[in-house]
């Protein structure tokens, strides 16, 4: 039985990565015979940082450079990060399919180069995805805000609840 990573008794921790972290790093294709986030998490970041999920706790933040999530369309990459306990990704920029996948899975993303510059690997961090605020070493950084429409999907928990509600309205129009 794979246990979920427990939350820290402290602020979330930063896990810092560089540019162009692609989906073959986030979760290699040969592990994709499962959709279970906890199983996928065991292989998260494996080519670059094996055992990543052993070092994360629920609520931790992944901070990265440019073009995070480039490569394949596999939504499993988001599931692997969620399974590892990552609650938000802050980057200089995101690849487009990964960006939509994260929104659709309710994983908040924030674009904020200044916060990426200030972040230390293993250091404490506080984030407010709705306000777009990131706090590092007492300094508050403002991320580029998501459009309301996308924030709505994230806040609803992802695309699934959004569509479920819309289909229910189709079946039973008021």
């Amino acid at each position: 039985m794979i246990e979920p990573t427990p939350r820290r008794n402290a602020l979330p921790q930063v896990h810092l990565f560089g540019d162009d972290i692609d989906t073959d790093i986030i979760v290699p294709a040969r592990y994709l015979t499962t959709r279970d986030p906890l199983v996928l998490a065991r292989h998260c970041m494996e080519p670059l940082a094996p055992g990543f999920a052993d070092r994360t706790a629920e609520g931790d933040i992944l901070v990265a450079g440019r073009n995070f999530g480039c490569g394949s369309s596999r939504e499993h990459a988001v599931l692997a990060l969620r399974g590892a306990g990552i609650s938000c990704v802050i980057a200089r920029s995101f690849a487009r399919i990964f960006f939509r996948n994260a929104i659709n899975q309710g994983l908040p993303l924030m674009i904020c180069p200044e916060a990426v510059d200030a972040a230390h690997d293993g250091g404490p961090i506080a984030v407010d995805p709705v306000a777009g605020a990131i706090t590092i070493d007492g300094q508050v950084y403002q991320a580029r805000p998501l459009p309301d429409f996308l924030l709505g999907i994230v806040s609803a928990g992802g695309l699934l609840p959004y569509v479920r509600e819309r289909l229910a309205r189709q079946e039973h129009p008021e």
């Binding site: 162009d20 040969r30 015979t33 080519p47 399919i97 659709n104 695309l159 699934l160 289909l167």
Partner: protein, 426 residues
């Protein structure tokens, strides 16, 4: 600057979202003509469709299910992905189901007459942009997005800006569509086209056959592109008339002369030589001439970008009367069964086998390190695939160099990376 004209991608999104003109940057709700899923990302989508509460699909006939990544399956878990796909097809009354080895989705879609010029195609695979070769717009999305599109029959899209990539003049010997797209990656990098449509132009593009245009459009996603587009010309017209006999009413879409492009990049095709993407990025591009001498363990000729008849003919041209170097596995994978059959009729398969190559079933296979040719620790491969990120083809310490089929075949003979001239003469 006032914009008067529209780009091809703006016109195609307009045509699929009610007909009103749209501009790059607009968010539209559009109905795709085709929704394609494969065994890995499809499995997640099927689950999500059920969780969304959808009892039926909005347009079952628009859906195409292709079991290509793990086909034939190497394990019970992989086999389960195919049976789940087949079950979904039955439950949701999808007729276009290909789970018994027919081939790789992006090559199969046009081959089976399921793609037309002017179409809007979405797919759970990032290389859905390959459809651009056919004067259509294809874009890759995640499983949730595709599940929503199947349930609702439509989905939201932001209309992309267009980068025009113009290749002037004529290509030299040994230079293919693969090299033209590697040249673009060399210039703009892995995020140089993020969220954009890459539209190709110029006489060198017109000079590409349909197989080469697929290779060209396939790798635009490696530059971060949302989609790719090759404008209709005589070559596409001939393909369409052959594929759909008797039909006259094709949607030929072209960018207006006064459309606004985000950027225009010009290339001198004659100055492009055979290129090679070194580990660990598709944009880490160097001339093959400067890549020679790297000892290799494996050559892989196949995948959705370069498993076409053109690639098999190129491989056979080099391997005819020659042998794969001792100690090298040369794996050749025709992208579809029909390509495989045609290659056999042309005597290519015998040529390849005589040279000592392995000819495999039509599957994505080792491109993503799944099966049929994974790499071990520290092994090095030359591949005609589209990605060479760390661990892509197997062990995390393995290395993949991306190149065209001529270069790959020549390297198989030499046992190291070589320019085709070194094997097949100048």
């Amino acid at each position: 600057m006032t914009k008067v004209g529209f780009t091809a991608v703006e016109k195609i999104f307009a045509a699929h979202s009610g007909g009103e003109p749209v501009h790059a940057g607009d968010v539209v709700v559009a109905r795709p003509d085709r929704i394609m899923l494969h065994d890995i990302t499809g499995a997640l989508a099927f689950e999500i469709v059920a969780s969304m509460g959808a009892k039926r699909l909005a347009a079952p006939d628009a859906v195409v299910l292709v079991g290509d990544h793990y086909s034939p399956p190497p394990s019970p878990e992989a086999a389960r992905l195919l049976t789940q796909m087949e079950q979904f097809g039955r439950d949701m009354e999808v007729s276009h189901v290909f789970t018994t080895g027919q081939g790789i989705e992006h090559t199969l879609l046009p081959e089976r007459g399921l793609l037309r010029p002017g179409d809007l195609v979405i797919g759970t695979d990032s290389h859905t942009c390959t459809a651009g070769a056919f004067g259509a717009i294809g874009t890759g999305m995640g499983s949730s997005d595709v599940a929503a599109a199947m349930a609702l029959g439509e989905h939201w899209f932001m209309v992309p800006e267009t980068i025009r990539a113009a290749y002037h003049g004529s290509r030299g010997r040994w230079v293919t569509g693969k090299d033209l797209i590697l040249a673009l990656l060399a210039r703009i990098g892995v995020d140089g086209a993020t969220y954009k449509c890459v539209e190709f132009a110029g006489s060198a593009i017109n000079g590409l056959n349909m197989d080469e245009r697929m290779a060209l459009c396939n790798m635009t996603v490696e530059a971060g592109a949302k989609t790719a587009f090759v404008p209709p010309d005589d070559t596409l017209d001939a393909w369409a008339r052959d594929k759909f006999p008797g039909e006259e009413d094709f949607a030929w879409v072209r960018s207006d002369d006064d459309a606004a492009f985000d950027a225009v990049l010009d290339f001198d095709a004659a100055a492009i030589e055979p290129l090679c993407a070194h580990p660990f990025s598709p944009a880490n591009v160097h001339p093959v001439r400067q890549s020679v001498g790297v000892r290799i363990d494996q050559v892989y000729i196949g995948n959705c970008s370069n498993g076409t008849l053109t690639d098999l003919r190129q491989a056979a041209e080099i391997l005819a009367g020659r042998k794969v170097a001792p100690g090298v596995r040369c794996i050749i994978v025709p992208a579809t069964q029909r390509i495989h059959a045609q290659a056999a009729r042309e005597g290519l398969i015998e040529t390849l086998l005589e040279a000592g190559a392995i000819v495999g079933p039509s599957t994505c296979g080792a491109c993503a390190g799944l099966h049929m040719g994974a790499l071990g620790d520290d092994q090095v491969a030359v591949a005609t695939t589209n990605r060479n990120y760390r661990g892509r083809m197997g062990a995390h310490s393995s290395q993949v160099y991306l190149a065209n089929a001529w270069v790959a075949a020549a390297s198989a003979v030499a046992g190291e990376i070589v320019h085709p001239d070194a094997v097949a003469g100048a």
